[in-house]
Amino acid sequence: MKPAQFDYYCPKTVDEALTLLEESGFDGKIIAGGQSLVPIMNMRLSTPDCLIDINRLQDLDFIDYEEGLVKIGTLTRQNRVETSDLIRQHIGLLSEAVPFIGHVQTRNRGTIGGSLVHADPTAEIPLALMTMGGSVHIASTDEVRTVNAEDFFVTYLTTDVMPTELLTEIHIPIWEGRVGYSFQEISRRHGDFALVASACQLSVDDQNRISNARLVLGGVESVPLLVTEANELLQGERLTDSLLDKVASIVSKVIEPESDLHASADYRRHLAQSLSKRTLQEAYVKAGR
Protein backbone atom coordinates (compact mmCIF):
# COMPACT_ATOMS: atom_id res chain seq x y z
CA MET A 1 0.00 0.00 0.00
CA LYS A 2 1.48 3.31 -1.05
CA PRO A 3 0.52 6.86 -0.09
CA ALA A 4 -0.90 9.33 -2.62
CA GLN A 5 1.23 12.22 -3.84
CA PHE A 6 1.91 15.23 -1.64
CA ASP A 7 4.25 18.19 -1.35
CA TYR A 8 6.81 17.94 1.43
CA TYR A 9 8.28 20.72 3.56
CA CYS A 10 10.87 20.43 6.25
CA PRO A 11 10.94 23.70 8.22
CA LYS A 12 13.93 24.50 10.45
CA THR A 13 12.12 26.76 12.93
CA VAL A 14 8.76 26.82 14.69
CA ASP A 15 7.89 30.13 13.04
CA GLU A 16 8.60 28.71 9.62
CA ALA A 17 6.42 25.68 10.42
CA LEU A 18 3.54 27.90 11.55
CA THR A 19 3.74 30.03 8.41
CA LEU A 20 3.71 26.92 6.22
CA LEU A 21 0.71 25.61 8.15
CA GLU A 22 -1.16 28.85 7.67
CA GLU A 23 -0.33 29.00 3.96
CA SER A 24 -1.46 25.45 3.35
CA GLY A 25 -4.70 26.03 5.24
CA PHE A 26 -6.82 22.89 5.44
CA ASP A 27 -4.67 20.97 2.93
CA GLY A 28 -1.54 20.67 5.05
CA LYS A 29 -0.76 18.18 7.76
CA ILE A 30 1.95 17.99 10.37
CA ILE A 31 4.04 14.84 10.46
CA ALA A 32 5.76 14.09 13.78
CA GLY A 33 6.70 10.44 14.43
CA GLY A 34 4.49 9.28 11.58
CA GLN A 35 3.50 6.15 13.52
CA SER A 36 -0.21 6.87 13.14
CA LEU A 37 -0.24 9.22 10.15
CA VAL A 38 1.86 7.13 7.75
CA PRO A 39 -0.16 3.89 8.18
CA ILE A 40 -3.29 5.93 7.47
CA MET A 41 -1.64 7.48 4.40
CA ASN A 42 -0.34 4.10 3.22
CA MET A 43 -3.92 2.84 3.32
CA ARG A 44 -5.05 6.05 1.57
CA LEU A 45 -7.50 6.79 4.35
CA SER A 46 -5.81 10.17 4.42
CA THR A 47 -4.44 11.97 1.37
CA PRO A 48 -3.08 15.35 2.52
CA ASP A 49 -1.85 17.68 -0.23
CA CYS A 50 1.13 18.69 1.78
CA LEU A 51 3.14 17.39 4.73
CA ILE A 52 4.99 19.67 7.09
CA ASP A 53 7.68 17.64 8.82
CA ILE A 54 8.51 18.94 12.32
CA ASN A 55 11.30 16.44 12.99
CA ARG A 56 14.02 19.07 12.58
CA LEU A 57 12.50 21.40 15.19
CA GLN A 58 14.93 20.53 17.95
CA ASP A 59 13.41 23.30 20.11
CA LEU A 60 10.35 21.07 20.53
CA ASP A 61 12.34 18.11 21.86
CA PHE A 62 12.88 18.65 25.60
CA ILE A 63 11.94 17.59 29.12
CA ASP A 64 12.21 20.43 31.66
CA TYR A 65 11.57 20.64 35.38
CA GLU A 66 10.23 23.76 37.05
CA GLU A 67 8.88 24.31 40.54
CA GLY A 68 5.68 22.25 40.65
CA LEU A 69 5.70 21.51 36.93
CA VAL A 70 7.20 19.26 34.26
CA LYS A 71 7.24 20.64 30.72
CA ILE A 72 7.69 18.33 27.74
CA GLY A 73 8.22 19.42 24.14
CA THR A 74 5.74 17.98 21.66
CA LEU A 75 8.45 16.29 19.57
CA THR A 76 9.94 14.36 22.51
CA ARG A 77 10.00 10.69 21.51
CA GLN A 78 7.92 8.30 23.56
CA ASN A 79 11.00 6.21 24.28
CA ARG A 80 12.77 9.21 25.80
CA VAL A 81 9.74 9.92 27.98
CA GLU A 82 9.70 6.27 29.07
CA THR A 83 13.34 6.26 30.15
CA SER A 84 13.53 9.76 31.67
CA ASP A 85 14.52 9.77 35.36
CA LEU A 86 13.03 13.22 35.76
CA ILE A 87 9.63 11.99 34.59
CA ARG A 88 9.82 8.83 36.69
CA GLN A 89 10.63 10.87 39.78
CA HIS A 90 8.03 13.63 39.41
CA ILE A 91 5.21 12.36 37.20
CA GLY A 92 5.65 8.61 37.46
CA LEU A 93 2.22 7.81 36.03
CA LEU A 94 3.50 8.80 32.59
CA SER A 95 6.50 6.44 32.88
CA GLU A 96 4.08 3.67 33.80
CA ALA A 97 1.74 4.38 30.87
CA VAL A 98 4.18 4.75 27.98
CA PRO A 99 5.53 1.15 27.83
CA PHE A 100 1.99 0.03 26.91
CA ILE A 101 2.21 1.98 23.63
CA GLY A 102 2.95 -0.29 20.68
CA HIS A 103 6.50 -1.60 20.74
CA VAL A 104 9.94 -0.22 21.47
CA GLN A 105 10.51 0.21 17.71
CA THR A 106 7.43 2.45 17.38
CA ARG A 107 8.19 4.34 20.61
CA ASN A 108 11.64 5.16 19.21
CA ARG A 109 9.89 7.28 16.61
CA GLY A 110 6.43 8.15 18.00
CA THR A 111 6.21 11.45 19.87
CA ILE A 112 4.27 12.54 22.93
CA GLY A 113 2.51 15.31 20.99
CA GLY A 114 1.60 13.11 18.03
CA SER A 115 -0.15 10.69 20.33
CA LEU A 116 -2.12 13.51 21.97
CA VAL A 117 -3.23 15.07 18.68
CA HIS A 118 -4.05 11.67 17.15
CA ALA A 119 -6.36 11.20 20.16
CA ASP A 120 -7.24 7.56 19.89
CA PRO A 121 -9.81 6.94 22.67
CA THR A 122 -7.76 4.06 24.10
CA ALA A 123 -4.33 5.68 23.72
CA GLU A 124 -2.19 5.79 26.85
CA ILE A 125 -0.73 9.31 26.75
CA PRO A 126 -4.09 11.12 26.47
CA LEU A 127 -5.34 9.07 29.42
CA ALA A 128 -2.27 9.90 31.50
CA LEU A 129 -2.47 13.62 30.67
CA MET A 130 -6.11 13.73 31.75
CA THR A 131 -5.39 11.83 34.98
CA MET A 132 -2.54 14.11 36.02
CA GLY A 133 -4.57 17.22 35.18
CA GLY A 134 -2.14 18.45 32.54
CA SER A 135 -2.50 21.11 29.89
CA VAL A 136 -1.01 21.88 26.48
CA HIS A 137 0.28 24.86 24.54
CA ILE A 138 -1.11 25.33 21.05
CA ALA A 139 0.53 27.84 18.71
CA SER A 140 -0.54 29.56 15.52
CA THR A 141 0.98 32.53 13.69
CA ASP A 142 -1.23 34.82 15.85
CA GLU A 143 -1.02 33.45 19.37
CA VAL A 144 -0.12 30.71 21.80
CA ARG A 145 -3.04 29.41 23.82
CA THR A 146 -3.21 27.05 26.78
CA VAL A 147 -5.83 24.32 26.92
CA ASN A 148 -6.58 21.97 29.83
CA ALA A 149 -6.79 18.24 29.17
CA GLU A 150 -10.54 18.35 29.95
CA ASP A 151 -11.15 20.69 27.03
CA PHE A 152 -8.53 19.29 24.67
CA PHE A 153 -10.16 16.03 23.57
CA VAL A 154 -13.28 16.59 21.47
CA THR A 155 -14.25 13.18 20.11
CA TYR A 156 -12.71 10.17 18.33
CA LEU A 157 -9.41 11.26 16.72
CA THR A 158 -10.36 14.91 17.16
CA THR A 159 -8.86 17.51 19.47
CA ASP A 160 -9.06 21.22 19.96
CA VAL A 161 -6.01 21.72 17.67
CA MET A 162 -7.13 23.50 14.48
CA PRO A 163 -5.59 22.61 11.08
CA THR A 164 -3.44 25.75 11.13
CA GLU A 165 -2.18 25.17 14.67
CA LEU A 166 0.77 23.34 16.17
CA LEU A 167 0.91 21.63 19.54
CA THR A 168 4.16 22.81 21.08
CA GLU A 169 4.37 21.98 24.79
CA ILE A 170 2.80 19.67 27.33
CA HIS A 171 2.61 20.89 30.94
CA ILE A 172 2.07 18.46 33.76
CA PRO A 173 1.65 19.64 37.36
CA ILE A 174 3.57 17.81 40.09
CA TRP A 175 1.12 16.95 42.84
CA GLU A 176 2.15 17.81 46.37
CA GLY A 177 2.24 15.52 49.39
CA ARG A 178 1.79 11.77 49.50
CA VAL A 179 0.82 10.82 45.97
CA GLY A 180 0.10 7.43 44.44
CA TYR A 181 -0.78 6.43 40.91
CA SER A 182 -1.49 3.41 38.77
CA PHE A 183 -2.03 2.62 35.10
CA GLN A 184 -3.58 -0.62 33.90
CA GLU A 185 -5.03 -1.90 30.67
CA ILE A 186 -6.33 -5.02 29.02
CA SER A 187 -5.50 -5.58 25.37
CA ARG A 188 -5.79 -8.69 23.22
CA ARG A 189 -2.02 -8.87 22.81
CA HIS A 190 0.75 -6.91 24.46
CA GLY A 191 1.44 -3.82 22.31
CA ASP A 192 -2.06 -3.60 20.86
CA PHE A 193 -4.38 -0.73 21.60
CA ALA A 194 -6.26 -1.38 24.85
CA LEU A 195 -9.80 -2.71 24.97
CA VAL A 196 -10.20 -0.73 28.16
CA ALA A 197 -7.58 1.19 30.11
CA SER A 198 -7.74 2.85 33.50
CA ALA A 199 -5.49 5.34 35.22
CA CYS A 200 -5.68 6.79 38.69
CA GLN A 201 -3.71 9.37 40.60
CA LEU A 202 -4.55 10.36 44.15
CA SER A 203 -3.10 12.02 47.20
CA VAL A 204 -3.72 11.18 50.86
CA ASP A 205 -3.37 13.14 54.11
CA ASP A 206 -1.59 12.05 57.32
CA GLN A 207 -4.58 9.93 58.30
CA ASN A 208 -4.59 8.20 54.90
CA ARG A 209 -7.74 10.06 53.89
CA ILE A 210 -7.97 10.79 50.18
CA SER A 211 -7.55 14.51 49.62
CA ASN A 212 -7.66 14.49 45.82
CA ALA A 213 -8.40 11.71 43.35
CA ARG A 214 -8.61 11.48 39.59
CA LEU A 215 -9.81 8.23 38.10
CA VAL A 216 -9.91 8.17 34.28
CA LEU A 217 -11.07 5.47 31.85
CA GLY A 218 -10.05 4.91 28.23
CA GLY A 219 -11.86 2.86 25.60
CA VAL A 220 -15.33 3.37 27.03
CA GLU A 221 -16.19 6.70 25.36
CA SER A 222 -14.91 8.75 22.42
CA VAL A 223 -12.48 10.60 24.73
CA PRO A 224 -10.75 9.74 28.03
CA LEU A 225 -13.49 9.78 30.66
CA LEU A 226 -12.86 11.52 33.97
CA VAL A 227 -15.13 9.71 36.44
CA THR A 228 -16.10 12.88 38.32
CA GLU A 229 -18.81 11.29 40.47
CA ALA A 230 -16.42 8.65 41.78
CA ASN A 231 -13.71 11.23 42.41
CA GLU A 232 -16.12 13.30 44.50
CA LEU A 233 -17.21 10.25 46.46
CA LEU A 234 -13.60 9.40 47.32
CA GLN A 235 -12.86 12.85 48.71
CA GLY A 236 -12.01 12.72 52.44
CA GLU A 237 -12.40 8.94 52.66
CA ARG A 238 -10.14 6.03 53.48
CA LEU A 239 -10.25 3.34 50.80
CA THR A 240 -12.29 0.32 51.90
CA ASP A 241 -13.76 -2.65 50.03
CA SER A 242 -17.24 -1.19 50.23
CA LEU A 243 -16.02 2.15 48.86
CA LEU A 244 -14.35 0.29 45.97
CA ASP A 245 -17.63 -1.46 45.23
CA LYS A 246 -19.43 1.88 45.21
CA VAL A 247 -16.91 3.27 42.73
CA ALA A 248 -17.36 0.22 40.51
CA SER A 249 -21.09 0.69 40.49
CA ILE A 250 -20.72 4.37 39.61
CA VAL A 251 -18.40 3.40 36.76
CA SER A 252 -20.90 0.89 35.48
CA LYS A 253 -23.64 3.54 35.56
CA VAL A 254 -21.80 6.41 33.87
CA ILE A 255 -20.18 4.61 30.94
CA GLU A 256 -21.80 3.69 27.63
CA PRO A 257 -19.22 1.43 25.99
CA GLU A 258 -19.75 0.08 22.46
CA SER A 259 -19.48 -3.44 21.12
CA ASP A 260 -17.10 -4.16 18.28
CA LEU A 261 -15.12 -7.00 16.73
CA HIS A 262 -12.80 -7.18 19.71
CA ALA A 263 -15.09 -7.02 22.72
CA SER A 264 -18.76 -6.73 23.63
CA ALA A 265 -20.08 -3.71 25.49
CA ASP A 266 -20.77 -5.96 28.49
CA TYR A 267 -17.21 -7.20 28.57
CA ARG A 268 -15.91 -3.63 28.34
CA ARG A 269 -18.18 -2.63 31.23
CA HIS A 270 -16.83 -5.53 33.26
CA LEU A 271 -13.24 -4.54 32.46
CA ALA A 272 -13.90 -0.90 33.32
CA GLN A 273 -15.20 -1.90 36.75
CA SER A 274 -12.36 -4.24 37.63
CA LEU A 275 -9.65 -1.98 36.25
CA SER A 276 -11.05 1.01 38.16
CA LYS A 277 -10.88 -0.94 41.38
CA ARG A 278 -7.41 -2.22 40.61
CA THR A 279 -5.92 1.18 39.76
CA LEU A 280 -7.56 2.85 42.75
CA GLN A 281 -6.30 0.20 45.12
CA GLU A 282 -2.77 0.28 43.75
CA ALA A 283 -2.63 4.08 43.76
CA TYR A 284 -3.88 4.15 47.36
CA VAL A 285 -1.29 1.64 48.54
CA LYS A 286 1.48 3.58 46.79
CA ALA A 287 0.33 6.88 48.31
CA GLY A 288 0.30 5.39 51.81
CA ARG A 289 3.90 4.25 51.59
Binding site: M1, K2, P3, A4, Q5, F6, D7, Y8, C10, G34, Q35, V38, P39, N42, M43, L51, D53, N55, N79, G102, H103, V104, Q105, T106, N108, R109, R189, H190, G191
Partner: protein, 159 residues
Protein backbone atom coordinates in the same frame (compact mmCIF):
# COMPACT_ATOMS: atom_id res chain seq x y z
CA UNK B 1 4.50 15.92 -7.44
CA UNK B 2 7.62 17.14 -5.72
CA UNK B 3 11.03 15.64 -6.16
CA UNK B 4 13.80 16.03 -3.59
CA UNK B 5 17.48 15.38 -3.52
CA UNK B 6 18.44 13.07 -0.69
CA UNK B 7 21.94 12.42 0.60
CA UNK B 8 22.17 9.68 3.16
CA UNK B 9 24.90 7.48 4.58
CA UNK B 10 23.86 3.83 4.67
CA UNK B 11 26.25 1.23 6.13
CA UNK B 12 29.05 3.76 5.79
CA UNK B 13 28.44 4.46 2.09
CA UNK B 14 26.95 7.72 0.81
CA UNK B 15 23.94 7.61 -1.51
CA UNK B 16 22.84 10.72 -3.37
CA UNK B 17 19.49 10.19 -5.05
CA UNK B 18 16.38 11.95 -6.26
CA UNK B 19 13.12 10.82 -4.70
CA UNK B 20 9.44 11.67 -4.87
CA UNK B 21 8.05 12.95 -1.55
CA UNK B 22 5.78 9.95 -1.20
CA UNK B 23 8.47 7.30 -1.58
CA UNK B 24 8.61 5.16 1.55
CA UNK B 25 12.04 4.65 3.07
CA UNK B 26 11.59 0.87 2.71
CA UNK B 27 11.06 1.21 -1.06
CA UNK B 28 13.98 3.63 -1.33
CA UNK B 29 16.31 1.11 0.31
CA UNK B 30 15.17 -1.78 -1.85
CA UNK B 31 14.49 -0.19 -5.19
CA UNK B 32 16.68 2.90 -5.38
CA UNK B 33 19.67 1.71 -3.37
CA UNK B 34 19.37 -1.99 -4.26
CA UNK B 35 19.57 -2.98 -0.58
CA UNK B 36 16.97 -5.74 -0.74
CA UNK B 37 17.88 -7.24 2.62
CA UNK B 38 15.29 -4.97 4.22
CA UNK B 39 11.99 -6.78 3.75
CA UNK B 40 8.56 -5.28 3.29
CA UNK B 41 5.62 -6.95 5.00
CA UNK B 42 2.51 -5.16 6.20
CA UNK B 43 3.35 -1.54 5.34
CA UNK B 44 1.54 -0.22 8.37
CA UNK B 45 4.13 -0.67 11.07
CA UNK B 46 2.82 -3.87 12.62
CA UNK B 47 5.02 -6.71 11.34
CA UNK B 48 8.50 -5.24 11.83
CA UNK B 49 10.07 -6.90 8.76
CA UNK B 50 11.29 -3.54 7.43
CA UNK B 51 13.01 -2.43 10.66
CA UNK B 52 16.30 -0.56 10.12
CA UNK B 53 18.48 1.67 12.29
CA UNK B 54 18.23 5.41 11.66
CA UNK B 55 20.53 7.61 13.76
CA UNK B 56 20.98 4.93 16.42
CA UNK B 57 17.31 3.95 16.74
CA UNK B 58 15.54 0.88 15.39
CA UNK B 59 12.53 2.14 13.42
CA UNK B 60 10.02 0.95 10.82
CA UNK B 61 11.21 2.00 7.37
CA UNK B 62 7.66 1.64 5.99
CA UNK B 63 6.54 4.45 8.31
CA UNK B 64 9.13 6.97 7.14
CA UNK B 65 9.58 8.73 3.84
CA UNK B 66 12.92 8.59 2.06
CA UNK B 67 13.08 12.40 2.01
CA UNK B 68 13.09 12.36 5.82
CA UNK B 69 16.53 10.70 6.06
CA UNK B 70 18.30 13.43 4.13
CA UNK B 71 21.61 14.16 5.84
CA UNK B 72 21.29 11.26 8.29
CA UNK B 73 23.04 7.96 8.97
CA UNK B 74 21.51 4.52 8.70
CA UNK B 75 22.33 0.88 9.08
CA UNK B 76 20.55 -1.97 7.31
CA UNK B 77 21.01 -5.72 7.59
CA UNK B 78 23.68 -5.54 4.85
CA UNK B 79 25.81 -3.51 7.27
CA UNK B 80 26.07 -6.23 9.93
CA UNK B 81 28.58 -8.65 8.39
CA UNK B 82 32.18 -7.43 8.41
CA UNK B 83 34.71 -8.44 5.71
CA UNK B 84 32.38 -11.15 4.47
CA UNK B 85 32.06 -12.64 7.95
CA UNK B 86 28.72 -12.84 9.76
CA UNK B 87 28.82 -10.95 13.04
CA UNK B 88 28.37 -12.78 16.39
CA UNK B 89 24.61 -12.12 16.53
CA UNK B 90 24.13 -13.44 13.00
CA UNK B 91 26.27 -16.51 13.76
CA UNK B 92 24.16 -17.28 16.80
CA UNK B 93 20.99 -17.04 14.73
CA UNK B 94 22.44 -19.71 12.45
CA UNK B 95 23.62 -21.88 15.34
CA UNK B 96 20.41 -21.71 17.36
CA UNK B 97 18.11 -22.12 14.36
CA UNK B 98 16.77 -18.61 14.87
CA UNK B 99 16.04 -18.14 11.18
CA UNK B 100 13.02 -20.29 10.38
CA UNK B 101 11.81 -19.13 6.92
CA UNK B 102 14.02 -16.07 7.16
CA UNK B 103 11.60 -13.41 5.93
CA UNK B 104 11.34 -11.50 9.19
CA UNK B 105 14.97 -12.12 10.17
CA UNK B 106 16.54 -8.87 8.85
CA UNK B 107 14.11 -6.74 10.86
CA UNK B 108 14.65 -8.83 13.99
CA UNK B 109 18.42 -8.56 13.60
CA UNK B 110 18.23 -4.78 13.32
CA UNK B 111 15.95 -4.38 16.36
CA UNK B 112 18.20 -6.69 18.35
CA UNK B 113 21.37 -4.88 17.29
CA UNK B 114 19.96 -1.56 18.50
CA UNK B 115 18.53 -3.12 21.65
CA UNK B 116 21.73 -4.87 22.73
CA UNK B 117 23.67 -1.65 22.25
CA UNK B 118 21.38 0.05 24.78
CA UNK B 119 20.77 -2.92 27.12
CA UNK B 120 23.80 -5.08 27.74
CA UNK B 121 22.22 -7.61 30.12
CA UNK B 122 18.55 -8.10 29.23
CA UNK B 123 16.68 -11.04 30.76
CA UNK B 124 14.51 -13.42 28.75
CA UNK B 125 11.39 -11.37 29.47
CA UNK B 126 13.06 -8.17 28.18
CA UNK B 127 14.12 -9.97 25.01
CA UNK B 128 10.61 -11.30 24.48
CA UNK B 129 9.20 -7.83 25.02
CA UNK B 130 11.53 -6.34 22.40
CA UNK B 131 10.66 -9.18 20.01
CA UNK B 132 6.94 -8.52 20.41
CA UNK B 133 7.48 -5.74 17.87
CA UNK B 134 8.00 -8.44 15.23
CA UNK B 135 5.57 -10.90 13.73
CA UNK B 136 7.17 -14.22 12.90
CA UNK B 137 4.54 -16.57 11.53
CA UNK B 138 6.74 -19.67 11.45
CA UNK B 139 6.76 -20.88 15.05
CA UNK B 140 7.27 -19.91 18.62
CA UNK B 141 10.32 -17.64 18.45
CA UNK B 142 12.21 -20.21 20.50
CA UNK B 143 15.39 -20.33 18.44
CA UNK B 144 15.34 -16.56 18.06
CA UNK B 145 15.20 -15.99 21.82
CA UNK B 146 17.97 -18.56 22.35
CA UNK B 147 20.19 -16.88 19.73
CA UNK B 148 19.80 -13.51 21.44
CA UNK B 149 20.33 -14.98 24.91
CA UNK B 150 23.49 -16.68 23.67
CA UNK B 151 24.77 -13.40 22.23
CA UNK B 152 24.20 -11.70 25.58
CA UNK B 153 26.10 -14.52 27.36
CA UNK B 154 28.98 -14.40 24.86
CA UNK B 155 29.27 -10.65 25.31
CA UNK B 156 29.47 -11.05 29.09
CA UNK B 157 32.39 -13.46 28.68
CA UNK B 158 34.16 -11.06 26.34
CA UNK B 159 33.93 -8.13 28.76
Amino acid sequence: MTVHEVEVKINGKTYKEEVESRMLLSDFLRETCGLTGTHVGCEHGVCGACTVIVNDSAVRSCLMFAVQVDGQEMQTVEGLAQNGQLNPLQKNFVQCHGLQCGFCTPGILMSTTDYLKKHSTPCKKDIQDMLSGHLCRCTGYDGIVKAIEKTVEDQKINI
